[in-house]
């Protein structure tokens, strides 16, 4: 049992905005009161619900591919020295699994969503997720280039497509579905891309990126999955892609959808030389459409490695950078690409990207619908979130940072004219309460009675980046994990997944496809439940 007393509590899900009150914890949950046990005096400190990352890449084949490709980063990264309670590891752009848990928890984040899992590699992802300590985790499977699904959409078999998706989610022990560059990866397998929403994709007559998006959004709603369709739009990173993004959002009217790393999809201009910010258009549309949520996918200047299922984009990025390129196409399902990258303030494109991420967070009115992410590690590493919080909370600091941009770049962006500053309450929404609601994890992102006792206690500091990168205490499932900025106690995180229902006949339909076009037996494909320890299984709510 634990009592946190005297702290100023920010709990937006319960409307609590900086109220000094006690938080009591028993058996890993928030309770109304406790009679004994330890008391933490949080007088003068700030209490937040534990952070929730709605979109990150921390485990599985593609991240592990990136780790293997970038020893030069590991050599300069923070080294985690083994101790009696901590495992050794490496931080940096793609931290090792144990280091990932320590870094997230060390910053006060206690739940993460691994946003891109090829079903064929789901076992691998779960093995890695199990090796990420402290944080709870869920995962999204990649469906928008799944050729079995596309064949069904081509044939107009919507019903069967829905059963297929339901089966795939359960087979991979996932929590939701992710669509990456719908149709584009299928085209990429022939060395092409899909940039037009209404043009059929390579090898199909009827299926277009647009039909995949609307088909999947409909399926997600029909299945009543807790999290909406998690969508990485077509034309990521391309100048002028704002039109694709807005057209895509129009296709989603009447459905729920989560627009992933919106920063990469809000550019104007015609080419790399004329690229500019188009955030007002995106924000205007987004503000008016409450069916949508999004995460920022913000960029910070510095070195990182880009990891995405968007193969054609990665080939383009490789050609632009001339550095290393990793690519792995996954049979019948998806692909992935890896390119190390450095964002530089004196580069026009990078400067626009940096500004666009911040502009979106400042121009979108409702903090509940826009979540703090960097699309780790694509825009920046997750352990740099405190730097973004500082940029959001301090307009003067932003102004200073703008000075490092070229005058040319400053003409292409809107950031210099934006004066909004986030409050602590709003920060608690974009880092915790909002993403928890978007992921439909009612026990997360809040400190009401019955909630999971995941919380973080900061020492308020004018230096916002310092405040958020060095929490005084982090409590996970009622256990004090971080004390005085040090990890003192390692608990295991839990996996979350969704139990879907489907017509068992779908297996009879799938089996022949498997035998012909896959290279493993059908029985070997699903992830066994025994691979997950202490899983929490959520039910679908049938919306329709």
């Amino acid at each position: 049992m634990l009592r946190i007393t005297g702290g100023r509590v920010y709990d937006p899900a319960n409307g609590i905005n900086g109220v000094i009150k006690d938080v009591c914890i028993a058996d890993g949950r928030v309770v109304a009161d406790v009679t004994d046990g330890r008391t933490i005096d949080a007088t003068g400190l700030v209490v937040f619900p534990g952070g929730v990352d709605v979109h990150t890449h921390v485990a599985g084949g593609s991240v592990n591919f990136a780790r293997g490709m970038t020893p030069e980063d590991h050599r300069r990264a923070a080294a985690f020295v083994r101790s009696q309670s901590l495992r050794s590891g490496i931080g940096g752009m793609t931290p090792t699994t144990f280091a990932t848990g320590y870094l997230y928890a060390g910053m006060g984040w206690t739940t993460v969503n691994e946003a891109a899992v090829p079903i064929l590699f789901a076992k691998h992802t779960h093995e890695e997720l199990r090796d990420i300590p402290i944080v709870d985790k869920c995962s999204m499977i990649l469906m928008a280039n799944n050729e079995i699904l596309l064949d069904l959409l081509e044939a107009g078999e919507h019903e069967r497509a829905r059963h297929l998706v339901a089966w795939q989610i359960w087979a991979s022990k996932a929590y939701g579905i992710k669509a990456v560059n719908p149709g584009g990866v299928v085209s990429w397998k022939w060395g092409k891309n899909s940039s037009q929403l209404s043009s059929p994709i390579e090898g199909y007559r009827n299926v277009t990126p647009g039909t995949i998006v609307s088909g999947l959004a409909r399926i997600v709603d029909e299945l009543g999955l807790p999290h909406p369709l998690h969508l990485h739009c077509n034309n990521l990173g391309a100048p002028g892609n704002v039109s694709t993004t807005i057209e895509t959002m129009k296709l989603l009217e009447g459905h729920r959808a989560h627009m992933a790393h919106l920063q990469y999809h809000a550019y104007g201009g015609d080419d790399w030389h004329t690229m500019c910010s188009a955030t007002p258009k995106v924000a205007e549309y987004f503000n008016a459409h409450p069916n949508l949520t999004a995460d920022a996918g913000a960029v910070l200047f510095g070195d990182t490695v880009t990891i995405t299922a968007d193969g054609p984009w990665q080939h383009l990025l490789y050609k632009l950078t001339g550095r290393k390129w990793g690519n792995l196409d996954v049979e019948n399902e998806t692909g992935c690409g890896i390119v190390p990258y450095s964002y530089r303030p004196n580069n026009l494109v990078n400067a626009v990207q940096w500004a666009v991420g911040l502009e979106l967070m400042l121009l979108i009115d409702d903090p509940w619908r826009l979540h703090l992410t960097t699309d780790h590690p694509n825009g920046a590493c997750f352990w740099r979130y405190p730097e973004i919080i500082q940029l959001l909370m301090n307009a003067d600091f932003r102004k200073d940072c703008l000075k490092s941009l070229t005058p040319h770049a400053r003409e292409r962006i809107f950031l210099p004219d934006i004066t909004r500053e986030y409050t602590l309450y709003e920060i608690a929404i974009i880092t915790s309460a909002g993403p928890a609601r978007a992921l439909a994890l009612p026990q997360k992102g809040q400190l009401g009675v019955g909630a999971d006792a995941d919380l973080v206690i900061y020492h308020e500091d004018k230096d916002v980046a310092k405040m958020f990168s060095h929490p005084r205490y982090v409590i996970k499932a009622g256990e004090v994990v971080v004390e005085e900025g040090e990890i003192r106690n390692v608990v295991e995180g839990r996996p979350f997944l969704v139990q879907t229902t489907y017509d068992p006949d779908i297996e009879g339909y799938l089996r022949p496809f498997f035998e012909s076009y896959y290279t493993m037996s059908f029985e070997n494909y699903p992830v066994e439940m025994s691979r997950l320890e202490k899983a929490e299984v959520f039910e679908c709510k049938r919306a329709k």
């Binding site: 485990a59 084949g61 991240v63 592990n64 591919f65 780790r67 293997g68 490709m69 970038t70 020893p71 590991h74 050599r75 080294a79 985690f80 020295v81 083994r82 101790s83 009696q84 495992r87 050794s88 590891g89 490496i90 940096g92 793609t94 090792t96 699994t97 144990f98 064929l120 590699f121 076992k123 691998h124 093995e127 890695e128 090796d131 050729e147 397998k189 022939w190 060395g191 090898g203 080939h315 050609k319 550095r323 290393k324 390129w325 990793g326 690519n327 792995l328 196409d329 996954v330 049979e331 019948n332 692909g335 890896i338 390119v339 012909s516 076009y517 896959y518 290279t519 493993m520 070997n524």
Partner: protein, 324 residues
């Protein structure tokens, strides 16, 4: 290691089966060494986009001698031993339309015309794959040979879809590589002596450590270095306390101080195996074994070691330095 130098463009084997209309085997003889590879994934298979199977595929073999794999190939290029790097580098130039020196090319055993023909065919392919084996990776140039073929495949993507994939050896070597990466961020040749992972092939790789005599004890798991490593390395293994975990008697177990018999993974012990394209597969053992699994033995060794004083924090007492 080659992927660290310039990257790697690859795919899972099902992509090869369904799409690869152009298949190259370089320094690799799967007909003898990976007998099921050809029938399951490549030449003989009908694929989703290659309904006529073998008729829809062009097969090229590059090797220093004729093999069972080269016999049925559409194109066989016989190159001189140790000239793989020169040939691959020439191909990279030809792909880009750059000039090469015909006399020096001829020294590799093939002509510029033959290589130009290969490049033309590669560019005409819809989906090309280059498999490479120990004939490339373990001959003079080693990791640079691997990098050369990976880079060639990468650069071919400016013209058409191309991938490259190593034909990895026996057992679950890919699995070890995968797990080491997620726990340490490095695939092999990792040193933990400073309490965190450090990596440097040539410095920390097993064979180099043994040959130089940098280690004073060895634990061998799922490998038989006593059969494959150079003599100086084997002599070192025999001279230091070597512990072997293996289901059977091996060359290494014969020279080891301790041999712990373990259950055979996949037959009498469960686990996960990673295929050479890194696809994870569940192993379902059909039999039971009276012997413990490797995992159980390692865990018990670890528990026993954990009871000892921690060497990282232990106070430096008397110098344990040995006399030469």
């Amino acid at each position: 290691m080659a992927a660290q130098l310039g990257g790697k463009v690859s795919c899972t084997l099902g992509e090869v089966k369904n799409r690869a209309d152009f298949i190259v085997y370089w320094g690799s003889n799967p007909a003898d060494c990976h007998p099921r590879h050809l029938s399951r994934y490549t030449i003989a298979q009908k694929g989703r986009f290659l309904p006529r199977g073998r008729k829809d595929r062009t097969v090229v073999v590059v090797d220093v001698r004729e093999t069972k794999t080269s016999n049925p190939a559409d194109v066989f290029l016989q190159i001189r031993p140790g000239k793989d790097f020169e040939v691959l580098t020439t191909l990279r130039a030809l792909v880009k339309g750059q000039p090469v020196n015909p006399q020096l090319v001829a020294e590799t055993g093939v002509t510029v015309e033959q290589l130009q023909d290969l490049v033309d065919r590669m560019k005409r392919a819809r989906f090309g794959v280059m498999f490479f084996g120990m004939g490339l990776t373990m001959t003079r140039g080693k990791h640079m040979n691997s990098m050369a073929i990976l880079t060639l495949a990468t650069e071919m993507n400016a013209f058409t879809k191309f991938v490259a994939m190593p034909m990895r050896g026996h057992g679950n070597v890919t699995g070890a590589d995968v797990v080491m990466r997620w726990t340490t961020s490095y695939p092999f040749a990792i040193n933990f002596s400073r309490g965190y992972p450090r990596y440097n092939p040539g410095e920390f790789s097993t064979v180099d450590l043994l040959v130089r005599g940098d280690v004073d004890a060895a634990l061998v798991l799922g490998a038989d270095p006593g059969a494959t490593m150079p003599m100086p390395a084997i002599n070192r293994l025999a001279g230091i306390p070597t512990i072997v975990l293996d289901p059977k008697v091996t060359h290494t177990s014969r020279l080891a101080r301790v041999h712990i018999t373990t259950a055979t993974t996949g037959i009498s012990a469960p686990g996960t195996s990673y295929r050479m394209d890194e696809v994870p597969l569940t192993l379902r053992p059909p039999l039971r074994s009276p012997y413990p699994t490797d995992e159980e033995v390692v865990r018990r060794i670890h528990q026993a070691v954990a009871r000892k004083p921690d060497w990282l924090t232990a106070h430096s007492g008397t110098s344990p330095i040995a006399q030469a």
